[in-house]
Amino acid sequence: MMNQTEQSLLARIGETRFACVELQLYLDTHPEDADARNDFNCYANALERLQAEYADTYGPLENFGSCPHDAGSWVYQKWPWMK
């Protein structure tokens, strides 16, 4: 069972990632929109910080060598469909 600190950090990652997904879709059809690019960069930087913080404490969310942690630990982290 996840503790509350981990859950709230994951929730912040989820919110920030969602802002990035939404802004990226908008930028796909409006790549020159300076305001949207600026917003995207702010959220992308925040996401990078949050993911690094998560990985330092609980292990990486992504595998494929995108995180300088022990790849083996990724295997044993909880799968998202499990309660």
């Binding site: 989820g14 969602f18 879709l25 796909d28 059809t29 409006h30 790549p31 949207a36 469909w81």
Partner: protein
């Protein structure tokens, strides 16, 4: 190349068995307007698109659909978890159980298995993007039907999120259609700058 993130796009936590909804949710897992159909349709159509912005939108929306497919699978598996064989049978899942056990197989609620004929790809950008806009509206309607069929707030909440995403994708595909229509008519593609924020 794709990278997996060990996290759902939106949280799903269904604490009590609900085999009736497990069965109905299969519409969006393996039906004609399912997230699987959407993801494969958009990723397949990219290769015949004439504009970078349209290729980008199809790539990113197709990728998000795969994340939605994982959310629906999570909902189905959690709805079946802990249900007795009697409860599965009462929900009309005895035939499903016979063939798939507790696996999450892409079929619709009536047991019709997923087929690639659901993923239209004519190679014509206007036909394909019109198809995509219709697909988003059909998925939105299906989510509304699903929400009408349950009072379970643990199911309604993620469905509400997914319904909203259909609306955003429809908006982006509408912009893609404008872009390819402009190209076909020999006009320069519409400017990307817009005075009104649309996200």
């Amino acid at each position: 190349m794709w990278i997996y993130e060990k996290r759902l796009e939106y949280p799903v936590r269904i604490t009590r068995p609900d085999p009736r909804m497990a069965k109905l949710l299969m519409a969006q897992y393996g039906g004609p307007d399912s997230e699987l159909g959407a993801g494969l349709r958009y990723l397949t159509q990219r290769y015949s698109m004439p504009d970078d912005r349209v290729r980008a939108a199809l790539t990113d929306i197709g990728t998000e659909e795969i994340a939605h497919w994982e959310m629906i699978a999570t909902m189905i598996t959690q709805c079946m978890q802990g249900a007795s064989l009697e409860e599965l049978t009462a929900a009309g899942l005895d035939g499903y159980y016979t063939m798939h056990g507790n696996g999450v197989f892409p079929a619709d609620p009536n047991g019709v298995p997923f087929t690639t004929s659901y993923i239209a790809c004519t190679g014509d950008p206007i036909a394909d993007l019109s198809e995509d806009m219709a697909a988003e509206q059909k998925a939105r309607a299906t989510y509304e039907h699903l929400m009408n069929l349950t009072n379970n707030s643990q199911i309604i909440e993620p469905l509400y999120f997914l319904r909203e995403r259909e609306i955003v994708h429809y908006q982006r595909f509408g912009e893609c259609l404008e872009i390819v229509q402009a190209i076909r008519n020999g006009r320069s593609a519409p400017s990307c700058r817009c005075s009104r924020r649309r996200y």
